[in-house]
Every structure is written in structure tokens, then in C-alpha cells.
């Protein structure tokens, strides 16, 4: 027996676009008529085959998720991240049996409880106590289980005093706390949690994250967690899945998944040669080249013992006095690491023409990670010639001098320090 508790195989879900409900009778009658005559379903072309290429052509249906495969082991906390509309909620809905998949299947060991909303089914007219029982049973607990945990639940929610007050008199924060408290004391083998922590104050969020960590590490239970908050994802999860347009674009170690997510959607940033679009202003960027300084080869992956050469070429059509190019290097989370301005190396030549400005970043500076290049150009106090924009990126792999165990240390930089006893 393996310790895989959740196995998702080739899972897809098709949604019909447009207004469902109008014309369904005529569609259904058409379908039915076609079936009787032994013809193919006239509206089922896209739905019946898992053909991804058809999606764009016919705009009638769309795969909210397609071809999803993953496995989760016992005790693992899997973070599911992705932009809005990437299919996270659909995936959770299919996993929690709210809606059936179009293709594929899911195999689960043990009980599943899903928390897609806090306090589902709570009734405002009923008291806190009654709602704990109602919400608990909706989530799959038995009355006996709730009986044994009732005190703890009320304590965790901080609502013990208001147990006999109708929930409609609760503040919205209290309602959320009560709802989460009930869910926190569920004891399913697999807990599915959607963005529910977005509500509640910082203190409660901390408490909730802590509780979920306890559930997974202490209780050996599995948690699937969806959030846009990379902070909580990082704290809670050890593995992650990145969804892009309904497909898994990356999965693995949570840090790597987050990096991938943050660099997602930045177009052709991953190339060492960036050509700019033709423009006809006085300042026309031409291209950006990222090279290995020593070999002069175009690349954007570096070992930290190599110098990085960034060359930016542009054309000017007028004399531009006092013009400067500003280079900034940003970390994956858009934190500016440093900025360098070309004013000190300003060329004497100011007449119109083509120029190349080169920046060299010395070796032994960056830690392992992905870094972004931001450029802008302007004449201070006169005009902005090029808006600050992220134009390229490169990645660095920390070069290890010794063959000893070298764990990856946190931080953006990893310079070699002179150190002694």
C-alpha cells in the first residue's frame, strides 16, 4: 500500500459559455431527435472529445480545467495557485463533489471535507450553538462528534459568551470565526480549503494558518489549500501545483511553484535577446541582450561565478542633453534590489544616432533565483523617454565552491564574505 491518499487522473471539466438556460429546450429536443435517428449529438462536438484545439475556434464551450493529473500523499499540504480564472475553484468544486467532472477520475482514501466558504448553511435566526451543530453536520460531522468538541469550537472562535445569541446579532468577524472554528475541528483525512482566510483580521488569520499547520503535521492529515496570498501558501504548504488556463503548468516544491507563478504571464521574458517594437519617437529602444561576460554568449541562465553583461541599444533622432538610462534589478516579488543610472558614464556624443550601453554585474553577487531587468530612460526635469518597464529576466544558480553540504540560504544576495575566527 502506498501512502497516496488522493489521485487525480486526466481530470477535465467543460463549461458551456453564454447563457445557459436559453434555448436549452430546443437544444435538448435537437439532441434527442438526432439520437433517435442515430446521428451524432449536434451540440456535443466539443463536449464529447477532449480535443483541446477546438476550444478557441468554437467559443461555445470552454475547458475550465483539462487533463489535470496529480497525486497527494498522506500528511502533505498541497498549495494550488494560479491567477483568477485559472481553474482553481473549478478544480476544488470537482474534488469536493459539488459538480461532476467531464472526463477523468479522482480516487480518494478517507473522508473529505471541503471548506469553500466559511459558515455554509448557517441560519441568521438560529443561535450560535444551533449553528455550530447545523454547520458541523453539513460539513459531515455527526452530532456526537460535535458534542465532544463543542466547548473547544466555541473557545477557538472566541464566541463562548454568545452561544445562545442568534447569529444575526453577531458581527461579521464573529460569524467568520465561528464558521472557521467548526471546520477546524473537523477530522477528515483530506481537508480542502479555498481562499477563506482572506476574511478576518490578521490575528485570526495567523490563528487559522497555525491551526491548519497543526492539522497536517500533528494529525497527519492532508490539506489542499488555494490562496492568492503567497505568504500563507509559503508558510503552510510543502508542495504546490500551478494552474494556468486550466492546465497544470508546473508542480513541485512550493518555492519553485511560487517563483513560476510570479514570473508567469510576462511574455518572452525568458529569452536573452529582447527586440523592442519599432517606435518613432525621439528615443527608440532597439534591443536588449543578456550575455555571459566571459564567453560573450547570449544566455540568461548564469552560474553565480560569472559576470552578467546587459547591453541595451537604442537610437536617437534628436540631440538629447543630459539623457540617462536607468537599470534596475528586481527580485521575483518585484522588490527592487538595486538601481544604477548611466549619468556618470554619459557619452560625450549627443548627436542623433545608434548607441549601445553596456552594464556588467560582477560575479558572486546573486543568490540562486530569478531576477528581472527593468529599464527606463529620460532627461531629468525635461521628459521621460522610456517608461520604466520590466524588459528581461535572468536566473542565477549559486556556484558552490566547496563540495561540502551547501543548503540554499535565504536572501536575494549571496556574496562571498571574508569571514574568520
Amino acid at each position: 500500500m502506498s501512502d497516496i491518499v488522493l489521485k487525480v487522473e486526466n481530470l477535465s471539466k467543460l463549461y458551456r459559455l453564454g447563457e445557459v438556460g436559453t434555448g436549452t429546450i430546443s437544444h435538448d429536443l435537437n439532441r434527442w431527435w438526432a439520437k433517435i435517428r442515430g446521428n451524432e449529438d449536434p451540440f456535443g462536438v466539443i463536449g464529447s472529445t477532449n480535443d483541446r484545439t477546438q476550444k478557441a475556434e468554437k467559443g461555445e464551450s470552454v475547458w475550465a480545467i483539462k487533463g489535470i493529473n496529480f497525486e497527494v500523499k498522506k500528511g502533505e499540504v498541497l498549495g494550488i495557485i494560479g491567477k483568477n480564472g485559472a481553474g482553481k475553484s473549478t478544480l476544488l468544486k470537482v474534488l469536493s463533489k459539488i459538480t461532476a467532472p467531464t472526463t477523468g477520475n479522482i480516487k480518494i482514501k478517507g473522508r473529505v471535507a471541503s471548506l469553500l466558504e466559511v459558515g455554509t448553511g448557517m441560519h441568521p435566526e438560529m443561535t450560535g450553538k444551533e449553528n455550530v451543530y447545523l454547520n458541523g453536520t453539513i460539513l459531515g460531522m455527526t452530532k456526537k462528534e460535535i458534542d465532544s468538541k463543542f466547548e473547544e469550537i466555541m473557545e477557538f472562535a472566541g464566541c463562548a459568551k454568545y452561544a445562545d445569541t442568534p447569529v444575526k446579532r453577531y458581527s461579521s468577524g464573529m460569524k467568520v470565526r465561528l464558521g472557521f472554528a467548526v471546520a477546524a475541528f473537523l477530522e477528515p483525512e483530506i481537508l480542502i480549503v479555498d481562499e477563506v482566510l482572506a476574511v478576518g483580521d490578521a490575528e485570526f488569520q495567523k490563528k487559522a494558518i497555525g491551526k491548519m499547520k497543526d492539522i497536517s503535521s500533528g494529525g497527519g492529515r492532508t490539506v489542499l489549500f488555494v490562496s492568492h496570498n503567497m505568504g500563507s501558501i509559503r508558510k503552510l504548504c510543502n508542495r504546490g501545483v500551478l494552474l494556468v488556463n486550466g492546465e497544470i503548468s508546473y508542480s513541485g516544491n512550493i518555492e519553485a511553484v511560487i517563483d513560476n507563478y510570479l514570473s508567469e504571464g510576462k511574455g518572452d521574458l525568458g529569452v536573452p535577446l529582447v527586440k523592442f517594437k519599432e517606435s518613432n519617437g525621439v528615443f527608440q529602444p532597439i534591443q536588449l541582450q543578456i550575455k555571459n561576460r566571459s564567453s560573450d554568449e547570449l544566455t540568461n541562465t548564469f552560474s553565480s561565478d560569472h559576470a552578467i553583461l546587459i547591453q541595451f541599444s537604442y537610437r536617437t533622432t534628436e540631440e538629447l542633453h543630459n539623457m540617462r538610462i536607468v537599470l534596475a534589478i528586481l527580485a521575483q516579488d518585484d522588490q527592487i534590489l538595486f538601481t544604477y543610472s548611466s549619468h556618470s558614464i554619459e557619452p560625450a556624443l549627443k548627436e542623433p544616432g545608434e548607441y549601445v550601453v553596456s552594464f556588467t554585474i560582477q560575479p558572486e553577487l546573486f543568490n540562486t533565483g530569478n531576477y528581472k531587468i527593468r529599464l527606463h530612460a529620460g532627461q531629468p526635469g525635461i521628459q521621460l523617454l522610456m517608461k520604466p518597464d520590466i524588459v528581461g529576466s535572468f536566473s542565477v544558480e549559486k556556484f558552490q565552491k566547496s563540495s561540502n553540504y551547501n543548503p540554499m540560504m535565504p536572501g536575494y544576495f549571496a556574496p562571498e564574505l571574508e569571514a574568520s575566527y
Binding site: K93, V94, A100, K109, G110, V112, E125, I138, G140, K143
Partner: protein, 287 residues
């Protein structure tokens, strides 16, 4: 291939697949969620009459007012026969037993629409919801039935010629039939309305019309022979007639008719559960 075989032998507790067999009713699961059913019933009972002055008295007030109107309109103005029974008893008995069907049907036929919010956020066997609705309907029925028995005893004491007989032991069966008939047809309707909203306009007056096709305000005996067959096609007719026959001694009772009602209920319930289960898997995409 061999490897796959081995993996398949692994024990999975839940499998989610696009299609399941037509009858995938999981009784074990339903049973596990029995506490939820009770909580739903409790919720319905507690909340319906919260912040009302008369509270549960409304349960009784409804049949009283309806009976009064029926006595006036159908009894005294239209002068429809009541099989020689006191008008109050005749109408009240009909209203009480019919009311349970109407309540069960009306409530369950709204299951998907009413519970969209919960159904969209958490999974539990959806059938729990309509089951809880016929259970809370049953509580209401019991109160009304007790009220009926009180009125009934009064008429017995003052010596009205009504003849309760041994068939009263059938009453629990009649109640179960009424509840399940309402449930079965209700969940068929709610499954259809999940997709075709038009039907909800039909439902509201369909129940009213159906009442006129059931011997609630008139006895079956007063119906001309050529129409009787249509009334007997209505599976509720034998239930109402048997109910009156057992308690009041008038009306037509036949094991054959009752068996028909029984079979009809079983069939409706069976198809209802199939359609309901099919709808619940995907209804979130259509509402």
C-alpha cells in the same frame, strides 16, 4: 498492464467519475448523514415561526380557516354533498391529509433552487434536503392531525353517526404514501426546473388544480360514473378515500385502488431518485 492491475487493487474509499450508473443511491452515505437531516428539520421548525406572535398555532390556524371557507363556499353555497357527514369533519379530514401531500410536493419541488447556496459550497447527499422537508412537513401534519382528532372526538361525544373501523391501522401507511408521493414528484419537478425554469410557473397552480382532481371537497361517491375512472387514475384519490373511510366510515375503499397508489408511489419515487441523482451531479453548472 500488469502494473495497472496491481494499482487498481488498491483500496479507494471514494471515486469521482464523470458518469455513474443510473441508480447510484448510496444508502450507507445517507445513513451517515442522518444527523444532518435532523438538524435541517430542527432548523425548519425553529425558524419558520420565529418572530411571529402566534408561532406554531399557525399550523392549526391554516386548516381551521380553510375548513371555514370550504364549509361556507362548497357546503352552504354550492351545496356539494359530504356523504352525510358533518361538513366540518368532512372538509377538515380532506384538508389535513391533502395538506401533507401539497406541503411535501411544494417544498421538495424547490430543492435545487432554494438550496443553491449550500449545494454550491459543500457536498452532502443532496437527497437529505428533500427528505428533511417531508420530515418537517410530517411534524406539521401530526399537529394538524391531532387537532383533527380533537374535533373528531368532539363529534363522537355528541353522538354523530361516524364509524371508525379497523382500517385505521392503515393510516400510518397512508401518511407514508402521501409523503413519498410528494417527495417523488417533487424531486422530479425540481430536477426539471433546475434546467427549465418554465415549470415553476406550472407548479404553483398545478397543486391547486390537482386538489380538484382529488376527492377533497367532494366525496368520490358523488362523482358521475363516466368521470370516476379519471379520478381513480389519480393515485392520491384512494389515499384520501381510505383515510376518510377508516375514520368516518364513508367513502370507497378497495385494496386494489390502494395497491395502485402504492405501486404508483414506488415507481414515482424510483424515477424521482434516478433523475434527482443525475441532476445533482451537474446542476451547479446550469442554475
Amino acid at each position: 498492464m500488469v502494473k495497472e492491475k496491481i494499482q487498481d487493487k488498491e483500496q479507494w474509499d471514494i471515486e469521482i467519475k464523470p458518469e455513474t450508473s443510473a441508480i447510484s443511491l448510496n444508502f450507507k452515505e445517507l445513513w451517515r448523514y442522518r444527523d444532518l437531516l435532523l438538524m435541517f428539520v430542527k432548523r425548519d421548525v425553529i425558524t419558520v415561526y420565529k418572530q411571529t406572535i402566534l408561532g406554531p398555532v399557525w399550523f392549526v390556524l391554516q386548516p381551521i380557516l380553510t375548513t371555514a371557507i370550504y364549509v361556507l363556499v362548497f357546503g352552504n353555497i354550492a351545496k356539494i354533498s359530504t356523504d352525510g357527514l358533518p361538513k366540518v369533519l368532512f372538509y377538515l379530514s380532506g384538508i389535513v391529509i391533502w395538506g401533507y401531500f401539497a406541503e411535501s410536493f411544494n417544498k421538495t419541488s424547490n430543492t435545487f433552487k432554494e438550496n443553491e447556496g449550500i449545494f454550491g459550497k459543500v457536498y452532502f447527499p443532496r437527497l437529505i434536503t428533500p427528505l428533511s422537508q417531508i420530515t418537517s412537513g410530517l411534524l406539521k401534519f401530526v399537529i394538524q392531525f391531532l387537532f383533527f382528532l380533537a374535533v373528531y372526538s368532539y363529534f363522537l361525544i355528541i353522538g354523530t353517526p361516524i364509524e371508525p373501523n379497523y382500517y385505521v391501522i392503515l393510516i400510518p401507511l397512508l401518511i407514508v404514501l402521501m409523503g413519498f408521493l410528494g417527495l417523488g414528484s417533487g424531486i422530479i419537478f425540481t430536477s426539471l426546473t433546475a434546467k427549465y425554469r418554465d415549470l415553476k410557473f406550472l407548479i404553483t397552480f398545478a397543486v391547486q388544480l390537482l386538489m380538484y382532481a382529488t376527492p377533497v371537497i367532494y366525496p368520490l361517491s358523488s362523482v358521475p360514473e363516466q368521470y370516476k375512472i379519471f379520478l381513480l387514475m389519480n393515485p392520491i384519490t384512494p389515499i384520501v378515500e381510505t383515510f376518510r373511510f377508516a375514520l368516518l366510515g364513508t367513502g370507497q375503499f378497495s385494496w386494489l385502488y390502494l395497491a395502485y397508489s402504492f405501486l404508483f408511489t414506488v415507481v414515482v419515487l424510483f424515477f424521482g431518485i434516478i433523475i434527482f441523482n443525475r441532476t445533482e451531479r451537474n446542476f451547479m453548472d446550469t442554475v
